[in-house]
Symmetry: C4
Subunit: 249 residues, 4 copies
């Protein structure tokens, strides 16, 4: 495998004015918890897998004796008015140009399904530990900002957005697709279910769906455990590599 | 040379229901010792060489005054019922995307020869120093797991499998090829002939071949010596590079 | 996105004997301050954007709630006798081969518009803190040197020119395009408006334009602020990456 | 520029049974001193330039106010019986896959001119400070070794040959070209004219040319000075990069 590839299991037919929503690993795991929870509670169906040579070159063993490649996944959630394509995954690309390549392929897939709006979900570290969590946003055009200015807080964040959550909306602009990054306010150093809840409530209102929040905390704990497992593997490998042999795996 | 390339010396004709078995450098050198020993004892014939720009950019000098490129090699062992394609080599790719590229080319070669089953051999560090060595496995599908559940121990390993031993079966799934990684239990910090022996016995039963184990210990010592030589060269170069000049070799 | 791409908004028609002038981030921010100030004061119009997977994989959030990709930009300034294509940008490529790729694409664009002369602007650290600032140059051929020997100081610099400011004229020679690097003398460790002013005066004479220098100091301060912001983001990310997770962004 | 490219100034017609001899920067600068001295004393004519995005992304300023890209160069020396294509250069590729790419392009060029024999020249660190310097060799086939066994010392070296000096003969074997690496014995930590002299004498005998050695020491000093200048530039840049800004050049 030399390039990032998206493999679609079977056709899904024409989608209803689809929106793409991404929740990949990042600050406070906000995006990942939100996206995974939506898939579970709203009955998401797997559409496609994305594999990349820019993901870590290892596979995870499962409890039952299986194994799986690190990947990103696309799920379809059919709502009343619109369809949602949810993007989740264990990892992001480990190199800079790998990040651009993966983001480009995700956009190809969005265009294939005539997606006209993309929302990436991330966390924004405000250092705030408790109290109400704001939901910030940064849009890829003024038009998008105006459309959503009553729903999200624009202009109160600064700095940069790293990885797919930032590259996707910024590259979408070049292709003429409306997009924004929605960021749950979070302390940043651990998984934050209250931030994920705040984002979920906004999305539920935006797309007119109902979702019960009861198992959100549990979802957050599972996500944290899984991510720590993957991180642990990567670190163990890196540590071993430094001490002993690096090119003989 | 810009891409990984496999060069086949001469045609081998149609193979009998071939299985690919890989034993590249890794934990406890289990895979490498098993694969090399099978080639010696079962009369493996060289089929092809794999060269890659993702292997270290140096050549090894031989005792007689020759030199050789670092590479992976394919050998053919003709058994009564099936043919085995054994993959061995001095090194694995040094970059993450190089690992994916090499694994992809090995799969291309497997498909060229209509391989329907792939077994990668590795070691699994349980920390166990003595006593009977278990032979674990992780399969790329439930179907494969069921087929082999009486021969190997599934579901007792955790963590990740790094490099070709993991990537190959996981990528094989995408191409519809049955595959699993077979792991000899080992302490992990040195070459382990007893683990290699345990794996060999399982393979002998699986593929109905007989193999005498008398020279296995000696094979293990030779493998360890060769690997240490290659490692030493790489380290010497890396050390020199850091101290003095890095881009002028 | 897999390769560096230049996107031209709309055609600009045939240009009058166009010269390309680049001012990307570098020593003393001399090139960047000169180029940005020319665009402001001489009414430059945006021609095209250059995006690259070799730029950092992050986007900058704007004060108003927007976001933008890191990029290089082309502006057109129409002078009486000749047209100028000014190249500016936030960053340069972060890898060596990325630098060559970006320089190659900029040359493709120059050739598309039949540019016959390229001037890259940089700073040259002489350690000199005060007094009159010299304007040095290094040409890509003797012919170019002779043509400009009365305007710039040739042969008083030594060492190397790193990045686009050096690669562009050197690679231009292969394509038969006249080019040189013009370097404002500077202390080197901070932004230097006096060096930028010295370079601007030379260019004004060379291309027969008038430019008021009153707001140059302010321009320099803005440039410094912006660059520090971008650097801060990159460093923050790098620091976080080293401490915690590197591949999960 | 995305790939390594060789640019030939003008045709050279058919060559007389040509041999390629390379002398790129390496241990004791043996290869570089030998090759450069042969070009000077035997009247080498420039044939072609090799540029690569895998060379450092900077240009060197010349004393006169010019600049030049880091590159490798091909020279033609016409001897009575055979023609020699000499390969020299300031640098080698800075990445592993860059090394393979450059070596591959040099072989393409050799094949274009129907070269049937390649000799790479390097140094071999024996730690020996004084006394007669041996000239070792490692061949890419037994046939080559037999042909040259009276001229060079085979089988007394161990370890690996790093970079183009090793990759070229090893990759040449795959293309069916005879090749070997000739190594002058040297202490290794500084430029070694006595080792270069020993190699030159062997080559003079092998190819039946006469060469006066009087200015060899001076050549060695010039090479050392130039290499130190290039190294200094790279280090200065690397140091600056670590302390301050890395991606803004």
């Amino acid at each position: 495998m030399i390039e990032t590839a998206i493999i679609e299991k079977h056709g899904v037919g024409r989608l209803k004015d689809p929106v793409m929503v991404t929740g990949l690993p990042g600050i406070g795991l906000v995006g990942q918890v939100v996206a995974k929870y939506m898939i579970k509670k709203l009955g998401g169906k797997k559409m496609a897998d994305l594999y990349s040579p820019h993901f870590p070159h290892q596979v995870l063993m499962t409890k039952k004796g299986g194994m799986r490649l690190l990947k990103n996944k696309f799920y379809l959630i059919r709502l009343k008015k619109r369809d949602l394509i949810i993007v989740v995954g264990d990892v992001q690309a480990i190199t800079g140009d790998g990040q651009y390549e993966v983001a480009g392929k995700i956009l190809d897939y969005a265009q294939k399904h005539k997606v006209r709006e993309i929302i990436t979900i991330g966390g924004y570290s405000s250092g705030k530990m408790s109290g109400e969590k704001k939901v910030f946003a940064a849009a890829n055009s003024e038009k998008v900002m105006k459309r959503h200015k009553d729903e999200f807080v624009f202009g109160e964040t600064k700095g940069s957005i790293v990885g797919v959550a930032g590259l996707l909306p910024a590259l979408a602009l070049i292709r003429g697709i409306d997009a924004m990054c929605v960021m749950g306010e979070t302390h940043g150093s651990y998984v934050d279910p209250s931030s994920a809840k705040a984002v979920l409530e906004k999305l539920a209102k935006l797309f007119s769906f109902k979702i019960d929040m009861e198992q959100l905390e549990q979802e957050a704990k599972e996500r944290e455990k899984m991510i720590k497992k993957i991180e642990g593997e990567i670190e163990k490998q890196a540590a071993g590599g430094n001490k002993d042999i690096t090119y003989i795996r």
